[in-house]
Amino acid sequence: MYEAVRARPVGPSTVARLAATAADYGYAGVVVTNPPDAAVDAAVDAVGEACGIDVVDGLELTPADPSQAAGAVGHHRPTTTVLCLRGGTGALNRYAVRQPKLDVLTRPMAGRGDLDHVLVRAAAENGVRLAVDLGPVLRETGPSRSAAIAGLRKLRELIADADAPYIVTASPGSHLELRAPRELAAVAAVAGFDREAVERGLAEWGRLAARNRERLADGYVGPGVRVEEDA
C-alpha cells in the first residue's frame, strides 16, 4: 500500500521523514505529490533506498482553469511518474476526467467541486483515478467534516456504479498527518467504504507507479512491446 504525501517546501516534513514514518506505519511506498512550482529538489529514489521504502516522484498540478491545465499536463507528463491534477471546480473536474494523460484527479469534491454519473463514467473510460480524500474527515470539524463525509458517500456510490478506478489518500501535509492503513479503513467506514475497498485504493498508487515506470523506461513502445538493445 502507498500513500501520497507533500514534502518540504510545501509542508514542514522532508521526503526522508515522510518516507521513514510511512515505512513505520506499514506502507510499501509513498508518492511525492508536490505542486510543480514547489517541487522537491532531492533525489527521491535515493531517499527511498535509504529508508527501505519505494519513493515515487509525482506532481500535483494546481491550475486555475482548464487552459492552464492543458499546458501543464503536456509539459510535465513526459518526466513525471504519477501525474495528479487538483480538481474542486466544475470546469477542472470536467477537464480532468477526459484527459487520459492524467493519472489522478485529486480532491474532486472539495470546495465547489462535484461529480455526476457522466463524469465518473468518463473517468473510467479514460483511466483517470478519482481520489477518495479522507483528509478533511481526519482534520476538519463540525459542518465541514459532515460535508466531506457526504461528498465521500456520493463519490463511493458513483464509483461503484461506473466501476471507476480510484485511489485512497489522507492527503497528509506532514509526517504528523500520516495515518496507518487500518486507521484509514476505520475512518472511511463512516462513508461506507469497507476495509478491502480502502486497501485496494491505497494499493492503486503502487500499481500506477509500476505501470508508468515501465512506460517511461527507455525502449517502451506500447503495452507488452519494447525495443531491446543488442547485447
Binding site: 514542514p12 513505520d24 486507521e183
Partner: protein, 158 residues
C-alpha cells in the same frame, strides 16, 4: 458497584504511539477530550456511549509518547477511527498509530509499546547549511527553525 462476571462489560485495550512537535504540551485531559470529541463528530453521542473510551495510560514528552485506550470490545473500530481523526489538539498536530490491541493493559503495553520509545536528546545539527538546535530521536530529527519545526531525518543533515 461490582457486577457479576457475565454482566461486566468486555473491554479491549488499544496501544498506540504518539508523535507531535517537541514544543507541543498536550496533557492527558486535553488528549482524552479531543478523542471523545472526534468520536462524537463521527458517530454522535450514541457512538461515544457505545465506545466508552478512556485513557488508561498516557505519556508524552518532547514530541513522542504512548497511550493505552480502553474501549468496549464491540467498538474497537469506533475508537480507532476516533484516534485517527482527532485533528490538531490545542493547536498542535498529533500523529496516532495503533500498534496493537489486547485484552489486558499489561499485555498490550508489554507486547506493543515496550521498547518503542527511543530516548531523545537536544543537540545542534547542520540543516540546509545552517547550524540549528534540534531534538534527535534515533534517526528522526525535529529541527527548530525558530518560528517552526521541520521534521527531518539524519539523511537531511548536511
Amino acid at each position: 458497584m461490582t457486577l457479576p462476571k457475565h454482566l461486566r462489560p468486555r473491554y479491549r485495550y488499544l496501544a498506540a504511539t504518539l508523535e507531535t512537535w517537541p514544543d507541543a504540551a498536550i496533557d492527558r485531559a486535553a488528549f482524552e477530550a479531543a478523542l471523545v470529541a472526534a468520536i462524537r463528530d463521527l458517530f454522535g453521542d450514541a457512538g461515544v456511549a457505545a465506545a466508552d473510551a478512556r485513557l488508561r495510560t498516557y505519556s508524552l514528552a518532547e514530541g513522542a509518547g504512548t497511550v493505552v485506550v480502553r474501549t468496549r470490545r464491540a467498538a474497537v473500530d469506533t475508537t480507532r477511527a476516533g484516534l485517527a481523526a482527532m485533528g490538531p489538539v490545542e493547536g498542535a498536530p498529533i500523529a496516532v498509530c495503533v500498534r496493537g490491541i489486547s485484552g489486558t493493559i499489561r499485555g498490550c503495553e508489554a507486547k506493543y509499546l515496550h521498547g518503542r520509545q527511543l530516548p531523545s536528546a537536544e543537540s545542534t545539527v547542520a540543516f540546509e547549511g545552517v547550524d540549528r538546535p534540534a531534538v534527535v530521536r534515533g534517526a528522526r530529527v525535529d529541527v527548530d527553525l525558530g518560528d517552526a519545526f521541520v521534521g527531518a531525518t539524519d539523511l537531511d543533515l548536511i
